[in-house]
């Protein structure tokens, strides 16, 4: 048989296998909407925060108003009783706690530093950091008003007063993910993993059954034919995710379409060769599903994306390149979110090419005619 015939045969095999269709096509379709769902609103708004105002003064109420207007926290005032505070924290009704101590107003009037205490639940890092930055911002805003007033009373112009208080001003400009959205950051990376894992597990389903029946095709033509089919499926899914699903859901989009296409092609070649080699490890149809479902989570964190490469143990910074998802995540995110060209992601392109050549060489050897 020719390579084309083997490729067609593989298509036939897939289309007659409900389990394979489910994994290779339907799963990606579902995941492309199911996975981004929790992050639909992108931002953490209204972190439940409790406020205890022990001062009950005009100054403390000014601060309260600023806190109430803060974008990410939802402030609820409760009575100043240790039991009610503890209960609110334990019930999970509150992730952060603000205390305005007595003498807050007195200290401001007397020209002493007034203090605000804020504490947050360290178990919920994202929510706590939002709460902390909102409280700091409110205190800073109120503090600036007090100081400006004071300096202006000394005869300084507003600009001069500001220059004295803040000699260096820092403006931050978020690039690529302009609203610093959580979903924007994580979803494209996970999508790459979904493309890889659905193909991988789908292929183990087909190869596992062939192993059971002892009918694994051998020879370079068979290998290349199957590889072509699986690469095509990888490409279909990659293009669906990055040109379809992510666009519909308004995740940032590629400027370099041709670069995206070429990278998707490289990635598909690589995951096809990867799957065909891993698939040979399993002797039954269900074995791949059993063993590989649980591997996606470590694969995400090992890639050095949502957990920085600089914080990985050194050995892992090398080993991670053995998984196509590592280059895939950085490459797709680079092109689709950062507007990178193939040149900008040459490390990832090189890694994918090297891995593909190695995996295919191993694959051809593994699928050789054993006479």
């Amino acid at each position: 048989m020719t390579v084309w015939q083997h490729s067609l045969n593989t298509w036939r095999l897939i289309l007659n296998d409900k389990g394979a269709i489910l994994l290779l096509f339907v799963a990606g379709l579902i995941y492309s909407f199911f996975y981004p769902l929790p992050y639909h609103y992108e931002q953490v708004e209204s972190v439940p925060t409790i406020l205890i105002d022990q001062d009950q003064s005009s100054s403390s109420r000014s601060l309260q108003r600023l806190l109430m207007a803060s974008p990410n926290i939802k402030v609820r005032e409760i009575s100043n009783h240790p039991n009610s505070i503890q209960a609110a924290l334990w019930q999970g009704d509150a992730m952060a706690l603000i205390i305005i101590p007595p003498n807050f107003h007195q200290n401001i009037l007397a020209g002493r530093t007034a203090e605000v205490q804020v504490a947050s639940h360290g178990g919920y890092l994202l929510a706590s950091s939002k709460a902390l930055s909102n409280v700091s911002q409110a205190a800073l805003t109120m503090g600036a008003a007090i100081s400006l007033h004071k300096l202006q009373s000394l005869g300084l112009s507003p600009t001069q007063a500001m220059a004295n208080l803040q000699p260096i001003q820092l403006h931050t400009r978020p690039l690529f993910n302009p609203h610093d959205g959580y979903g924007h950051s994580i979803v494209p990376a996970v999508m790459v993993l979904v493309i890889q894992q659905t193909l991988l597990i789908g292929v183990t389903l087909l190869l596992g059954r062939q192993a059971e029946q002892n009918i694994i095709p051998v020879g370079w033509r068979a290998y290349l034919g199957m590889w072509l089919t699986f690469s095509t499926i990888g490409l279909i899914n990659s293009l669906y995710f990055f040109l379809g699903a992510l666009r519909i859901q308004n995740y940032a989009q590629a400027e370099h379409w041709s670069h995206l296409f070429i990278f998707a092609l490289l990635f598909s070649f690589c995951i096809a060769a990867f799957s065909m080699l891993i698939g040979r490890l399993f002797k039954t149809r269900e074995r791949g599903l059993q063993l590989l479902l649980v591997t996606a989570v470590p694969m995400l964190f090992i890639s050095g994306y949502s957990w920085p490469t600089e914080a990985l143990p050194e050995l892992l910074t090398y080993l991670r390149w053995l998984l196509p998802s590592t280059a895939g995540i950085h490459g797709f995110v680079g092109i689709n979110q950062l507007g990178a060209s193939l040149h900008d992601i040459k490390t990832e392109v090189t890694a994918l090419l090297g891995l593909t050549v190695t995996l295919m060489a191993l694959g051809l050897w593994h699928y050789r005619n054993k006479r």
Binding site: H121, Y124, S128, N177, W307
Partner: protein, 388 residues
């Protein structure tokens, strides 16, 4: 020999002769947990690379750069005089932020004006950008405070007065639980239970699904003297015991890694952890009873449990999710256990505070009863066997 003992022995005998299933049950989870622990073992991210664009290098700009470089989370890896190559480096991910210092940086400071800096952040890589932003802001605040104090004193203020003027309201920050933030505790301690949940479901679906696939379900029931409850209990007990043992190791290990982070009872955390595993197993019985197909059961269990961490509210809070996502989160045992993890194990709340998640986990566990009945109704006929 009692029916229960016979059922247990039947399952153990299978594991003894099937090395693949044995590895799935015994070997896979410790390996992956070790890997997860290894990934986060270095602790907090340090020395994340940034670039500085210093259009007119001066002693002030060099001093500021030194201060920023000294912050633990950042490392000034690149110095440029124009912004174009720095932006390229940002896009190529050689650096994750660019600090732009304008031409008139030093002259503004000398004149007594305020100098404006711009920090460009690659917020797509959000762990990088949030760490960098925090550290750069802090370094600039420190330098700015020094200059500000100097200027105010020139206006005739005393030390104390100038400090109050710079910061009339001071925010005292403290973390209630899990001080640090200790990433090792935050991430690996919450990811590992997600792996337990996936594996508990895969093992349960596999143990039952195998009998349907191979048409051995009737023999399985016969060994249990016809009782579906004994059959299930005997089959699943070895897996529950094993996961309970691994769970004990997990709880002990993390407690000893960061004893100060865990204010509450480790026993309570452990007891509820085993309950979570049992709840996940009960739901798996449902899945296989409904699908009656080993492969399909695994696919459904995977769909249910693999994205569970994303829905659990640990990384991205539940309150910020759409209602539909919150609803889905509420049917995952992991979500409820992580609530207990945060409230009881970290924060030291009493049992009374977690009645709701505990009740839900118990209810999920008891769902094994209707699930078993469903299994008995439909799964012991040859028509339900052999599906792949």
């Amino acid at each position: 020999m009692s029916a229960l003992l016979a059922s247990i022995q039947r399952e153990l005998k299978h594991l003894r002769y099937n090395r693949g299933d044995l590895f799935l049950a015994v070997g896979l989870l410790p390996l992956l947990c070790l890997l997860v622990w290894w990934i986060f073992s270095a602790g907090q991210p340090l020395n994340l690379p940034i670039a500085v664009v210093d259009q007119t290098p001066s002693s002030s700009s060099r001093e500021l750069t030194r201060m920023i470089n000294a912050a633990p989370g950042v490392s000034v890896d690149q110095h440029w005089q124009t912004s174009a190559p720095a932006i390229d480096a940002l896009r190529q991910r050689h650096v994750y932020a660019v600090l732009l210092m304008p031409n008139d940086f030093e002259s503004s400071l000398l004149r007594g004006d305020s100098a404006e800096l711009v920090l460009l952040l690659n917020t797509q890589y959000s762990t990088y950008s949030s760490t960098i932003q925090r550290d750069v802001q802090q370094a600039i605040l420190t330098v700015g405070t020094g200059i500000s104090a100097d200027r105010l004193q020139r206006l005739g203020m005393y030390d104390d007065e100038s400090i109050v003027t710079m910061m009339p309201i001071k925010v005292l920050v403290s973390t209630l639980y899990n001080e640090g933030p200790n990433y090792e505790v935050f991430l690996s301690a919450t990811l590992i239970p997600a792996l337990f949940q996936i594996l508990a479901m895969v093992l349960t679906v596999s143990a039952i699904g195998r009998e349907l696939r191979d048409g051995s379900a009737r023999n399985w029931l016969q060994v249990a003297k016809g009782s579906v409850f004994i059959a299930l209990f005997g089959k699943l007990l070895p897996y529950l015991m094993l996961l309970a043992l691994y769970g004990a190791i997990y709880i002990l290990l993390f407690y000893h890694l960061a004893p100060a982070s865990y204010a509450g009872s480790s026993w309570a955390a452990y007891f509820t952890f085993v309950l979570m595993v049992a709840a996940a197993m009960s739901i798996s019985i449902f899945i296989i009873a409904i699908t009656r197909n080993f492969r399909m059961g695994l696919s459904v269990a995977g769909f249910y449990s693999a994205p569970a961490f994303a829905y659990s509210g640990q990384a991205f809070p539940l309150i910020a999710m759409p209602e539909l996502a919150q609803l889905w989160a509420s049917i995952l045992p992991l979500t409820h256990w992580l609530k207990i993890y945060n409230q009881v194990w970290l924060a030291g709340a009493p049992w009374a505070a977690i009645i709701a998640p505990l009740t839900i986990l118990l209810a999920m566990w008891f769902s094994a009863v209707p699930a078993a009945l469903l299994l008995r109704q439909f799964s012991f006929h040859p028509a339900s066997w052999g599906g792949r």
